[in-house]
Symmetry: C2
Subunit: 415 residues, 2 copies
């Protein structure tokens, strides 16, 4: 079965909104062995929605629309799709009651017409409950057989509905169409080098397809074998052997998630002292569920006074070497250990730009300090790109290096 | 002129990567008055790339491909597009030299074949330099007239190339096709309420089209008037009058950016004390260029010991009320002021989930404290959704409330 998505909304095309729903759904479908084949993104215009629906239905049995089910006048999906499929709309009193109950729980009032519009259901469609918002999902089985499903756009409504209602129903309707692909994530090595090693490692294994996705600190290698799914086990094992401890465990999506497992397993706690990353490293750490077991806290020492008062950086070190220097970052690390009694620490100071660069220390200069039991490592790094890129690369590199330090010093005792 | 984008890469469809390039380009094109009309997203497969190229060219004069220009074997865009357009590829020695120089500057070595592949240029194409990576952009003018432009996928290469090479060339090639749309961003009001007020406010103004995009803490209202561009001034002014200080200044994309302007204008500094948001609020603040002028620092007090030692929260307050409580957050706020001498402060403690909820304090419970000269505000809030949603909504709400507090107490003296 071929699956297409139509993302609907001016905000996706005019730069107002990132399409996070597409990533969420794509990953869930790939994991389920029913990969997403194509996406169309169109503005809130009836003609554009209709054209995408025709294109998508011409080469897919399953079409999922995302967005345009809300209460405002530019939410057109329900009406346009139902009309195009020849399905009459009528108000479903059960849906209307659910919407009113949701609004009452949240203590919110909306215009009556907004409730009525969102309670309209195409004839013969099944309703997918929306416990996190107002507009329900609409599951329309059509002759062919074909399936058109309309899902709401707000991610806090869309994602839970995919997991609780959409995917279970889809998997009951039909089996996976593809052997699951395998993923090997490699930390701290460039894309070209990962591929060079892959080619060597996989030579002689027929029918293996390899795709790459590079992000700061981590290259994702995706193996598939449409004709020879039985070869996937051997291919994955060869890669994991070849990359050895550069490969993340299968359960980890990011180096940070592996750091979480390593710290938890050894009973170590982590703290961060951040200047240019401004809390981003702590935010990535605490985005991981259960991080309170191993993450103690962070000091975002943007002002020099904070570096002195909270971390014990000496004023003369700041004066002599500047805030972005190995000696200052060494003292930030030491301050974390002495004052907060953590076993592992990250400290970072740098120039994220756009201002603040000098010939000696241009924008992108970042000093990174990593310490784990038995090792202190300080590195003078340089990252390309704009402010956001420098911050993101610095944060990604911090987790890559902390992970490697934890692996290299796994014999040392904890605190 | 109609502009379409083809995003190329399995990683965009299988959930590995967010399409941040689409947002970046969409915003730049909208701002330039040459709005993006359609996007196609396809996997790294020659047939899929060809089909999307045909569909896109059938209804657009300008087609932009993003991605698939890199050095690995799944980077197919250059070869597939050139073959389909009937343009022979040959190695450009100037491009090869630029790639080698870039790699040498970064101290990186790659296989020779990777350089050769990325130096292939279609006959008659213009090269768009890539100072931030290896693969250049390729600008192909075709009979018709039509234009196909291939741009590299890594955001740190794509975004600067859009600004430095692609957009200036596009604007020289042709004038804007649409009067610029106008945007009014409204902080801290729900989407339905924004629309209800809009309808009332704009009644009597003919030909105004309104689109909405709701994100935590902020609703973007986009006004366009394809037939009556002269009515846009009046429409925008009416909305700004109606929403009064709920509307962000035109230069601000987010409530946080407005907070930055308000703090800078009054010479105030801000600090944050974060538990469940784990540095996210500080990270949002420091993502704003120049934030070191007004952002002093943050304490991410995940462990209770940090709340006590760094912020002076009393152990008995923690024991009596729990970490997620108004009394604890009040002491976190007070600690920031007393110990760090800032004029404005945000403190937050909550239960982001998935674990940690209780019947009295379910997942999503967040206590938020905001203080500015002349006002301390403490609020017990409840946010829907998963861990990430709760954290993001808490951070967004913090800036909305801080912004309102600064506006409401603008007469108070600074510290």
């Amino acid at each position: 079965v071929v699956v297409s998505v139509i993302s609907i909304g001016n905000e996706l095309l005019n730069g107002d909104t990132l399409n996070t729903n597409l990533v969420y759904l794509g990953q869930r479908l790939a994991d389920a062995g029913i990969p997403l084949q194509r996406e169309f993104c169109v503005p809130d215009e009836p003609a554009a929605i209709r054209a995408a629906l025709h294109d998508a239905r011409a080469h897919s049995e399953v079409v999922i629309t995302i967005g345009g089910l809300g209460p405002t006048s530019d939410d057109l999906t329900r009406a346009v799709v139902a009309a195009d499929l020849g399905l009459e709309l009528r108000e479903d009193p059960r849906v209307a009651a659910a919407i009113r109950a949701y609004l009452a729980r949240r203590g919110v009032t909306v215009p009556t017409e907004a409730v009525r519009l969102q309670a309209l259901v195409p004839r013969s469609a099944e309703v997918l409950d929306n416990p996190n918002g107002t507009a329900p999902g609409l599951w329309c089985e059509l002759p062919g057989p074909a399936l058109v499903v309309m899902l709401p756009g707000p991610p806090s409504e869309f994602c839970p509905m995919v997991d609780a209602a959409f995917l279970p129903r889809l998997l009951r309707r039909q089996p996976a169409t593809q052997a699951r692909s395998r993923v090997v994530r490699v930390a701290g090595l460039g894309e070209s080098h990962v591929e060079a090693r892959d080619v060597q490692t996989l030579s002689g294994l027929a029918g293996i397809e390899v795709a790459y996705c590079a992000r700061p600190g981590c290259v994702t290698v995706r193996l598939s074998a449409p004709q020879h799914p039985e070869a996937l086990d051997a291919a994955e094992e060869r890669l994991r052997t070849a990359f050895a401890d550069l490969a993340l465990p299968a359960a980890c999506q990011t180096p940070a998630e592996h750091v979480a497992i390593l710290l938890r397993g050894r009973g170590l706690t982590l703290a961060t002292a951040e200047s240019c990353t401004g809390g981003l490293i702590a935010s990535v750490a605490t985005d991981i569920p259960g991080s309170s077991d191993w993450f103690a806290g962070a000091v975002v020492a943007y002002a020099n006074a904070w570096k002195e008062n909270l971390l014990g950086v000496r004023p003369q070190t700041l004066a002599e070497h500047g805030a972005v220097s190995v000696p200052v970052v060494r003292e930030m690390l030491a301050g974390l250990h002495e004052r907060f009694h953590v076993a592992a620490a990250i400290a970072v100071s740098g120039i994220a730009g756009p201002a603040g660069g000098t010939p000696q220390k241009p924008v992108g200069t970042v000093v990174l300090g990593i310490s784990v039991p038995g090792s202190v490592e300080l590195a003078n790094l340089s990252f390309p790109g704009n402010r956001r890129s420098v911050r993101e690369r610095a944060a990604a590199t911090a987790f890559v290096r902390l992970r490697q330090a934890l692996l290299d010093h796994s014999q040392e005792p904890g605190p």
